[in-house]
Amino acid sequence: MNERGQVFTLDMFFALTLTALTVSCSGLAFEQARRQAEAYSLRYSLERTANDAADVLFKTLGEPDNWDDNAETLRTLGLAEENGGLPTPNTVDIKKFAQLRRLTNSDNWDYSANANATTAIKKLFGGSENFEIRILDENDNELWHAFPRWSSSNQSRAENSLEVVSIRRLAAVKYGSAIRGDTGRVAQRAGSETGDNLNFWVGDGELELFDWYIIAIGDRNLSILVNKQNAGIGNRDYFFQQNDVQRIFPTQHGGVYADTLPKGNQLVEGQYNSLSLDTAGPAGWIRVYVVTLPHCSDWRDAATMVQPSPATLEVKMWR
């Protein structure tokens, strides 16, 4: 037998090379598939959590239903408006969003008295603090945002993350709960009329929680006095002219509380406040609203409270 063993044949060499290649390729393919599957499942869970959170936010009232009256009692976060005891899907209650902003800001997020509420908020996002909620207007401009430890000078860490999920749901920002007082449409005869009042309640802590604005609509001259009675058409804190159509008072950041109203007729917490409304001019009508916006809002956003407007609720989550 002058033949060499099978292990030395070229065929065997090819076979071994092929086997080695196959094993190596399979290993690489398996590793790649495993990594992709892992990335996919992580991405999927992030997407799923953000999607579910957005659903819960604008379809439920939260627990308890009126958690915005005492945010420390929050057990489950929900931002929908209430209508006859039931949530109105696809709406964002501005009062609840204001409370969410208060709870998440840098002063309150780590405050021990808010521990239960912040835990409830985190629970909605799978226990993570890596989330941001934004309300955008119909032109995609940001109205308000909230994320853990936000302040007027910082941005969320979503900008620095390589993996960010952004869920956008269409919602209506309805005026309902943001309007704290409404005269209704008041028809008036020609000449001057005095003695009309608009009373509205300001709860404890609400001057810090909200910015307060007055919106006047109509076609009569209107003098508005805050917490002062029957001072006459010449005395006013704010003046609406008959051809103004619609005006917001005051036109400055912070609203009525931050305004330069004289001491003695600024808003007071824990009691009814009143607007004295004196009118003059040809026969016509007026309507006055007192509206609240989440603290630190742009004063121009007060106008969106009068009509229910299309908006976008954006939930961002990241790793």
Binding site: E3, T9, L10, D11, F14, A15, L18, T22, C25, S26, A29, F30, Q32, A33, R35, Q36, A37, A39, Y40, R43, Y44, E47, N51, T88, P89, N90, T91, E138, D140, I167, R168, R169, L170, A171, A172, K174, G184, R185, W285, R287, V306, Q307, P308, S309, P310, T312
Partner: protein
């Protein structure tokens, strides 16, 4: 099998070639399984579907207040149809849906069954209906949402259907 018998090796056989081909296909398939297309396939369509449902819901939630009561956009459309102002109803629906939906989402709104439409040709821009109709017919991925409403004067139930798809405007 050896050189002395002058036979070609296994690697050159048709079986081996086919075997390698099959193996490569399997590897490529496995590698693709977790790819980004699959992620889009599951979540991208879900988002489109939610845009359709949310936008239709917002037609009921947004509208105007006439100092006495709130009128939703759908109420206003129904009223315009009732008094025979089809063109105004079409404009109102177009404008409101354009406000509600993002710019990269296009839409078509239809009220009534295909053979007896109360309102059609509600597309993202006024006019250019044949162009939009063609875009609608040719789009690959489309999501729809429906609601039933009562319409005057015959108080008949009719379906309001909103179709949305991703695409650029004219």
């Amino acid at each position: 099998m050896s050189f002395r018998e002058n036979k070609k090796g296994f690697i050159f056989s048709l079986d081996a070639t086919l075997g390698i081909l099959v193996m490569m296909l399997v590897i490529a398939g496995v590698a693709r399984a977790g790819g980004s297309e699959l992620t889009y396939g599951q979540h991208g369509y879900l988002r489109l579907e939610r845009y359709a449902n949310d936008a239709l819901e917002l037609l009921y939630l947004t509208g105007n207040t006439d100092n006495i009561k709130f009128h939703s956009t759908i109420d206003n459309i129904e009223n315009l149809l009732y008094i025979g102002q089809q063109a105004l109803a079409e404009n109102l629906a177009e404008n409101q849906l354009r406000k509600i939906l993002p710019n990269d989402i296009q839409f078509r709104l239809r009220i009534g069954p295909e053979n007896n439409l109360r309102l059609d040709n509600v597309f993202p821009s006024a006019g250019n209906h044949p162009w939009w109709r063609s875009a609608f017919d040719n789009v690959k991925e489309i999501a729809a949402a429906s609601r039933v409403s009562i319409f005057r004067p015959d108080n008949r139930f009719d379906i309001i259907t909103l179709y949305v798809w991703r695409g650029s405007a004219i």
